[in-house]
Symmetry: C2
Subunit: 589 residues, 2 copies
């Protein structure tokens, strides 16, 4: 049974077919509209607000709890709690385009080409066993498709045989002086953002870079919500896979179009991402990562064919998923560490903090590597925060409060502010603490201070009262939990390594949030010790950088193997000292 609803988006109206009895969440997703579902559609975050024109259905308990009387009166409802009824007119809020951090640290990448090109001339000689053995060393693996190409050549033809290790990838006929382009793509599958990088594999030159929102956000903002979706829906894992694959394929096509090249000429793709994202991109259920002891199904994969990986490329292309370390220390972290080595070949004793939707911490000494993961991220990405949002246009990215309690801020994309992203949130809490609005426990202790008011029945500070953007007591608590978890993770690693704050020579911040974050504000709320402010290096998208390194320099493959073999993963939930550090680290310093 099908039904029709009317969708109003950015002032334009269209009719959309939906399944009868589907929720608006599903109906909107099917029609390409993505709202934030931080709670994965459970009706607890209140982010997926839509306005029903005409007669709106009775609100349910979740809607009554999360929406004001005025909102309910005006037809505002939660998409995840509302059934799509035929004839319904639904207005969806404008949701900012992504402005992801795709750059950051830009170390020199010395080229050690991943692919070998052997120039040959076809000669069917008496006594040679077959064509393949006459061209390249015996033992090379020739897929059927490449044998078909080889068979099409005639004696006397010249060609370039492109190999990766013992695999023949392509055999390109040579005519005159022109040569078929040899391209590589690196993809970072972030929980929130997909980043794409296209490179010429011969020169190493960057041809294009771009980013897209991860469309899986329509199934839940964090990995746990998405795993739950996959478990609760019969084809859930396939839906999640198709969703991200479509976006990866579109991103690769877009990058190729930007560079004026063909996706056909992409010979290799290297993908980084956290363990759950890599599982889902391959259609592999990540359910086992969601329960103790958080065992992933796989951590390392051989190179795949493009079709096995579901990529719409020439099937002769090969695809590498970078290795993960554990369920919560993924290939994004392995790639970050490769990027760190490229930036500082001898990083000394250093700390890497990658704050995406999850927060991972890695401590490296001269001889050992320790890593842990904390469920710190969602707040930093704007999830679980009343007026939180990702770092997209309309998000307040930096802010301060003057002596009179008047806020000032900057907005991503120079638009009208619609909420706070992670770095704005850290700035806001740092300023409120500095200006005496918050005590050491993070409580708003004086409701009479200028700018204070009430939002969602809680004490709250008006970031922009006119636009109804508030920072509530609960939001401060969420940030305290997040930064407390992350800081406690750091303390556990230091304790495991027998080190103190003073031993850390460098602190690398990776991820989009890390790039926007002001180190001083991070120190002000106790996310990092203030002594580290001057030791901070921003990596930007370290995972994307590491994936490109892997693609351009085969010398670093051994490094990566070493790194993933050496990392000692510390599961925080099994550490007695974590809770102690956590309690302490939640306080403001």
């Amino acid at each position: 049974m099908k039904a029709w609803i009317t969708l109003i988006e950015n002032g334009t109206t269209r009719r959309a077919e939906v399944s009868a009895q589907a929720s608006l969440m599903e109906a909107l997703r099917v029609n390409g509209i993505r709202l934030p579902y931080d709670c994965g559609g459970r009706g607890t975050c209140g982010k997926c607000r839509v306005t029903i024109h005409g007669e709106a259905p009775e609100p349910n308990a979740a809607e009554r709890a999360l929406l004001t009387a005025a909102q309910l009166q005006n037809g505002v409802r939660l998409a995840c709690q509302t059934e799509a009824v035929s004839g319904m007119e639904v207005e969806v809020p404008r949701f900012g385009q992504l402005e992801a951090v795709i750059d950051g640290a830009a170390p020199e990448i010395p080229l050690a080409p991943l692919l070998d090109e052997v120039y040959v001339s076809i000669e069917d000689k008496e006594g040679s066993k077959d064509r393949t053995s006459a061209l390249v060393q015996n033992g090379h693996r020739w897929p059927v498709r490449q044998l078909q190409d080889l068979a099409q050549l005639s004696p006397g033809d010249r060609a370039a045989v492109v190999c990766r290790s013992g695999d023949v990838l392509r055999i390109d006929p040579l005519e005159g002086t022109s040569q078929r382009p040899l391209l590589g793509a690196a993809v970072d599958i972030g929980t929130t953002t997909l980043a794409f990088y296209l490179r010429d594999l011969r020169s190493g030159r960057r041809l294009a870079a771009g980013a897209q929102e991860n469309p899986q956000r329509a199934f839940g903002s964090d990995v746990i919500a998405r795993i739950a979706y996959a478990q609760e829906h019969p084809d859930g894992i396939a839906e999640l896979q198709q969703s991200v694959l479509q976006s990866i394929n579109a991103g690769l096509a877009g990058a190729a179009a930007d560079a004026g090249v063909c996706t056909e000429d992409i010979a290799v793709v290297v993908l980084a991402g956290n363990t759950v994202m890599l599982h889902m991109a391959l259609g592999i259920s990540a359910a086992s990562i969601a329960r103790a002891p958080f065992t992933p199904v796989f951590t390392e994969l051989d190179w795949l064919s493009a079709s096995e990986a579901g990529l719409s490329l020439d099937d002769r292309a090969q695809v590498k998923f970078l290795p993960c370390v554990s369920g919560y220390v993924g290939a994004d972290i392995s790639a970050d560490l490769l990027a760190v080595r490229a930036l500082h070949p001898e990083p000394g004793t250093s700390l890497l903090i990658d704050i995406g939707t999850n927060g991972e911490v890695v401590l490296q000494s001269e001889t050992e590597i320790w890593a842990c993961s904390t469920a710190a991220g969602p707040a930093f990405e704007g999830a679980a925060i009343s007026c939180g949002m990702p770092g997209v246009p309309g998000a307040i990215a930096t802010m301060d409060i003057d002596g009179q309690g008047r806020p000032s801020y900057t907005v991503v994309g120079d638009e009208k502010p619609r909420g706070l992203c992670g770095s704005g949130l850290v700035d806001a809490v740092a300023a409120l603490y500095r200006r005496g609005y918050l005590d050491e426990t993070g409580a708003f202790h004086d409701p009479e201070l200028p700018g204070m008011g009430t939002y969602m029945d809680m004490p709250a500070f008006a970031v922009d009262a006119r636009r109804d953007i508030w920072l509530t007591q609960k939001d401060v608590r969420e940030l305290q939990l997040a930064k407390g978890a992350l800081a406690a993770g750091v303390e556990v690693l230091l304790a495991a390594a027998g080190m103190t704050h003073a031993d850390i020579e460098r602190v690398y911040l990776a991820g989009g949030f890390g790039q926007h974050l002001q180190a001083e504000s991070a120190a002000a709320i106790g996310l990092i010790p203030s002594a580290w402010v001057s030791r901070v290096y921003k990596l930007g998208n370290g995972a994307g950088l590491g994936a490109q390194l892997y693609m351009l320099n085969r010398g670093c493959h051994a490094d990566l193997e070493q790194i993933t073999a050496d990392i000692q993963y510390i599961e925080l939930s099994s550490r007695a000292d974590f809770q102690m550090f956590f309690m302490e680290a939640m306080l403001l310093p």
Copy 2:
């Protein structure tokens, strides 16, 4: 532009869509009707006769040369020389169903299973890196599909992990005492016949066997005609591939249906066939095999996935194409030699003669192996013989001539005779020689002998005058050429090995023709020395047997590697002594 013609087949009439300006050869093939095209559609063999009702087009020069005036008058034309014209009514002759030799020698096959089954219980244990490494040794290759299956299991579930060498093929959940069947299929892709064998890989038990005509016959009877077709048509190689793949897939489905099992449960497929057939099954042009120095594109292939091999099976199935030795000593011969070893583990000094559409000869001593290939086959399969046909129902398979020149014969399938197949042809020539019709040079020296007459303007013997089945002077010459080439090949190998006829302890005959062949007749025409008659062992479909051996006993894999590495291939066209032996061997003894 499309046209419609009317097809009359076995008395039933149907309308068929054809491309305008296509030949009837193409029109019939597209509509599923296969005639013999021994010359590949060049208009030189005269086998693809059809009858045009109503007004038939003017015959061309080829038709005038190959058809009698009466035939031309009655609307008989060659399908390959006639354009399909809209409104044409075409009657096609009934063409016998295949009755292939799928059995033969049946040695004991000791079981050394190809696949390992490891019984596991899913437990996500603290400290295990990932699920795969907890189940089977690290370094096993898990394709994405198998990881998806593994991810669907929950802690506590039991499963059987099926591996081949380091590859994980399946992970079958275990519930109660039932176990998923583990099946293997062997396929011999003959130029004329496809043979299928389905086995239970756990017990070795044969579940089904069957055969089908190779549908590529509609593109030409021998490999050279098919290679020419592929070169002369833009998508020729793809057409040939699709044609045989459809038949292989249908054959596997048919064998499974006969056995009451599912093709889904086929875990491995092993394929044998000559080098050209294996190239074409994979869509790889075999053009380089058709010109000196006859270099194939590949001789050995790794295991493939079912989809890479184009098989409609569960994609977790793995497919092995057995190794070839050279362009004209294919995997059918490697497989024959495996079968010989199973039959007689110590075969002494022996000769293997595999007469299919080509004729290959292998000489094995205790320490060395020599092989050569002769273009001997087509005549033995009925091609190039005026009233020749393959060994299908209606073919005269054995015959004799009494003192009064009266022929007697047996017919395949107990039908009315329609022509002579290879073994009938050998019998006929042996009898004509014995009865004094033919002299030592193979000439009919007395046109007055009983039964002699004229057919296609040549002296000919009436095998069945009423049914217009004749053996012409040219047919005798064709057989002399074929048996001469084969016998000369034997002599070249003996010379290369420094041996004489007396050194040969056993003579293995492989192939369907070898199975029907009477050793005495073979000796009578000088195909083999008469001293060898008592040393002949008939292998039947040795290639099919060898493929089954490979599937059931992994111990023989090393033997096969040894065999293909040891074989010294002797290219007859480059041997000075071949022409000398050939001239001599063409005579009747």
